[in-house]
C-alpha cells in the first residue's frame, strides 16, 4: 500500500517497507512514525541517519548486534545496548528504524 507524504505517493511492500530506497525523504519517517503513534526526537534521528549512512556504505542494513555496537561507539557507551534502542523503537530497532529510514528489511530478520 503506498503512503502519502507531502502530497507525494511512495510505493511500499506488503510489510510497509519503502519499495525504492532512493525515494526516501525525511517526511517518510515522519508519516510512518505518526501511524505508529511515535514522536521522532533527535535521538531517533541519530539512529535513522546512522542506518542510512550504513546502508549507503555497505549496501545492507546492519544486524541488531552490529547496530548496537556501532551506536555505542558513535553516540556513547550508555546508548550501545538493546534497552536503549528498544526504548526508542519499541517494535525493534531493526524492523522499525530500518523501515523509517527507507531501508529494506534487514537480512536474516523474519
Amino acid at each position: 500500500m503506498p503512503i502519502e507524504v507531502n502530497g507525494k505517493s511512495f510505493e511500499t511492500d506488503e510489510e510497509g517497507y519503502l519499495a525504492n530506497i532512493n525515494d526516501w525523504e525525511p517526511g517518510v519517517a515522519e508519516v510512518m512514525s505518526k501511524e505508529d503513534d511515535l514522536e521522532l526526537t533527535d535521538e531517533h534521528w541519530d539512529i535513522i541517519n546512522y542506518l542510512r549512512e550504513y546502508y549507503e556504505e555497505y549496501q545492507i542494513a546492519p544486524a541488531v548486534r552490529v547496530l548496537t555496537k556501532a551506536v555505542g561507539k558513535k553516540f556513547g557507551k550508555d546508548k550501545g545496548n538493546s534497552k536503549y534502542l528498544y526504548g526508542l523503537f519499541p517494535y525493534g530497532p531493526a524492523k522499525q528504524a530500518c523501515r523509517y529510514a527507507g531501508l529494506p528489511k534487514p537480512t536474516g530478520c523474519v
Binding site: Y58, P62, A63, V66, K73, G108
Partner: protein, 136 residues
C-alpha cells in the same frame, strides 16, 4: 546456546555475478554470524573475483554487492583466506582486491587485516581443519 564452537568454512569458488551463489553465500555468512561460531571465508578459482575493487554492475542488471564485504569485520568475520594460485592464474594480486579489515575492540579499535594470502597446499589444510564446509 550450545557451548560447542564449530569451525565453519564458507568456500567461494564462483564469479560474483551471472549466478546467485556469491550473494547467497554472503547472506548466509551474515545471518550465520549471529550464532557465535568460528567463521572463516575462503576464496579460490573464479571466487577471487568477488573481492576485486571497482566492480561496476551497470551492464549486468544485478546489484553491486561488493561494498558489503567491507561490513564483514562488523560481523566478527576476521579470517578471509584467498588462494594465491587462483590470483596468479588470473593475473591478479592482493592489490586488486579490497582492503578488508576488522576493528579490535580490545586494542583501542585498531584496524587489522582480515585477508590472508594462502597457498593451495595451505588451503587444503584449512578445509581439512574445518568442522563444516559450505561450498558455494
Amino acid at each position: 546456546m550450545s557451548e560447542t564452537i564449530k569451525k565453519f568454512l564458507y568456500l567461494n569458488r564462483k564469479a560474483p555475478y551471472g549466478t546467485i551463489y556469491a550473494w547467497e553465500s554472503l547472506e548466509v555468512v551474515l545471518i550465520g554470524a549471529a550464532f557465535d561460531q568460528d567463521v572463516s571465508l575462503a576464496f579460490m578459482d573464479d571466487g577471487v573475483y568477488q573481492l576485486t575493487k571497482g566492480q561496476d554492475t551497470t551492464g549486468v542488471g544485478m546489484k553491486n554487492f561488493s561494498p558489503t564485504y567491507a561490513a564483514l569485520g562488523d560481523y566478527e568475520v576476521k579470517k578471509i583466506f584467498v588462494e594465491k594460485e587462483s590470483l596468479d592464474e588470473r593475473g591478479l594480486t592482493l592489490d586488486d582486491l579490497q582492503h578488508l579489515v576488522w576493528e579490535d575492540e580490545d586494542d583501542d579499535w585498531a584496524e587489522k587485516d582480515s585477508i590472508r594470502l594462502v597457498s593451495r597446499e595451505e588451503m587444503t589444510a584449512i578445509m581439512d581443519d574445518a568442522d563444516v564446509v559450505f561450498s558455494f
